[in-house]
């Protein structure tokens, strides 16, 4: 057993997405706390990481419903209850014209929920993250692909994990301090 308490994770750097996806699959056989970083959305990578529950659509739906129901209720309340104006004897509860603001605010609510939901579910915004301590990590937004096995994983062992990673054809292996 090597002491790994000063580490956040052990990171392997790859040159292409295919190697990364294969490596992720291999590492997931042994470890739970595996993360992967890529400069664009790589197909099949989230599934390889065991990512299943994407709640963004649900959050978006809730946002849309809240927006639509809210604005319809506001229109009805203001026009019928709080501030009724008799305009040429037209009905106060003029639902056909309420549809336009209702449509707009439904879309607005859903879009805001999609955007904020995506950010909050991702744990963003965030000022810093230990992974940024990895040298070369600035290339994760350019052309390099990174796999990280967190030191907090129960099966993490500096030597064993390093041996596993070095068998996966990485460019280099990096110890990331916590």
């Amino acid at each position: 057993m090597t002491d790994a308490s000063h580490l956040y994770s052990l990171v392997a750097e790859f040159s292409d997405p295919e190697r990364l996806v294969t490596a992720v699959r291999r590492c997931r056989e042994h470890y739970e706390q595996v993360d992967a970083y890529a400069p664009y959305a790589v197909e099949g990578l989230p599934e390889a990481l065991g990512f299943e529950r994407n709640r963004v659509p649900l959050v978006t739906l809730i946002g849309g419903i809240l927006g639509g129901v809210g604005i319809y209720a506001l229109q009805w309340y203001s026009a019928v209850i709080d501030y009724p104006i008799n305009s040429g004897g037209r009905p106060l509860d003029a639902w056909p014209v309420y549809i336009i603001p209702t449509f707009e605010i439904t879309v607005l609510g859903a879009a805001l929920a999609a955007f904020l939901g995506m950010l909050l579910l991702n744990g963003l915004p965030r000022l810093n993250h230990p992974i940024f301590n990895a040298p070369d990590f600035d290339l994760a937004s350019r052309n390099r692909f990174f796999l990280s096995i967190r030191a907090s994983d129960p099966k993490f062992d500096l030597n064993d994990t390093r041996r596993l990673l070095s068998g996966l054809d990485p460019i280099r292996i990096i110890e990331v301090p916590a």
């Binding site: 890529a38 989230p46 805001l112 052309n143």
Partner: protein, 453 residues
Amino acid sequence: MTSQAGTIEPPRGQRYTGAIITDKIADLVLVRPMHWGFYVGFALSTALTLLFIVAISYLFAKGVGIWGINQPVAWAFALTNFVWWVGIGHAGTFISAFLLLLRQRWRTSVNRFAEAMTIFAVAMAGLMPILHLGRPWFFYWLIPYPDVMDVWPQWRSPLVWDIFAIGTYLIVSLLFWYMGLIPDLASLRDRARSRLAQVGYGLAALGWRGEARHWARFETAYLLMAGLATPLVISVHTVVSLDFSFGLVPGWHSTIFPPYFVDGALYSGFAMALVLAVPMRVVFRLQDFITVRHLAKVGTLTLVTGLIVAYSYCVEVFNAYYSADAYEIAMIHNRYFGPYAPIAWSVVLCNIVIPQALWSRKLRQMPLALFTVAMVVLIGMWLERFMIIVPSLAQDFLPSAWHMFYPTFWDLATLAGSIGAFAFLFLLFLRFLPAISMSELRRDAREQPIVAR
């Protein structure tokens, strides 16, 4: 690294890799290579922006009487500008959202700047009705909020729908644009060398680190936003057209207005996208990303929307006679043979006759020709908005009320100033944010190689 524009390029005939794409596009912002074309454009647009500020300040000091508006022509340049600018703002979101849903991969090179174009155009549009208000500082009374006056907006008024439609469109377009920018801002943060740029782009990137699960949620949210933005695009100009068609004025009161306006909006928007893309790709040496093929596709879209616009003009004339309504028929006569006839025939020339040149495949491959036709279309579309708004008001039901409208210097200054301010914002965007989506291009370049020419 030199200050020569776009020196980071693979040798001729070689593929662009993810690294070269990122370096090239990021350096347009971080290194800021300068080209004389940029200086000229920036100087011109700054001068016009100053004119805009002067025109608005004078307007706020004196009131709308400085314009040529009168009774019965209470709506003129400000509303023409409004409808024209909102229209231009349509193509951006259409290109990015609709083409994303249709999986048209070519959109990747053009969506970012088209979205920026949308936002700045809608910003210009949003200003116009506010400037046109007698008391512009009370514009927020249109928003429903619990105030001490106990007054609510009149929900049956299209002008109230306007603020919902335009406001929602601006916010959703902004969110869509910003969301697409987040991974690119992270690229800029990682590549920036100055502390200020690192911190600035770092804060804007919200801590994006490219984690695979983050990408999955990002892609889902992006697709959902595209699905939401697409009907929104259609709704915005529909609502704008209702401002007119809900009125009884001959020439406005027509059921064809919503599709007619939406299509005209896309027409002018595609034209503006061409007008911006043609010089931009030369000045910033983006010809390998925004290729002749991209321009030709936008040219085709311009032609298609132009033909629908031509059809709408015909239907307007047909409907006037078919209605057997004396005022509608008189309106069509006045439009094409009355005092504003030169405007109407210029519209026909600019929007119907000249764009037919786009049928030629050879011409669609010539950037300069596309630029010229697009300019003509933009002028034509502005005149079309004017043709719909002013002649209908100038000669309505009672001949005793008829009155001509002539623009004053301040009308023209507001129009020119808004064009300047739009260009000013767009040029600043090109200097501070990546003009093309780097993350999407990196992904697409693996499947469809981008070859240096």
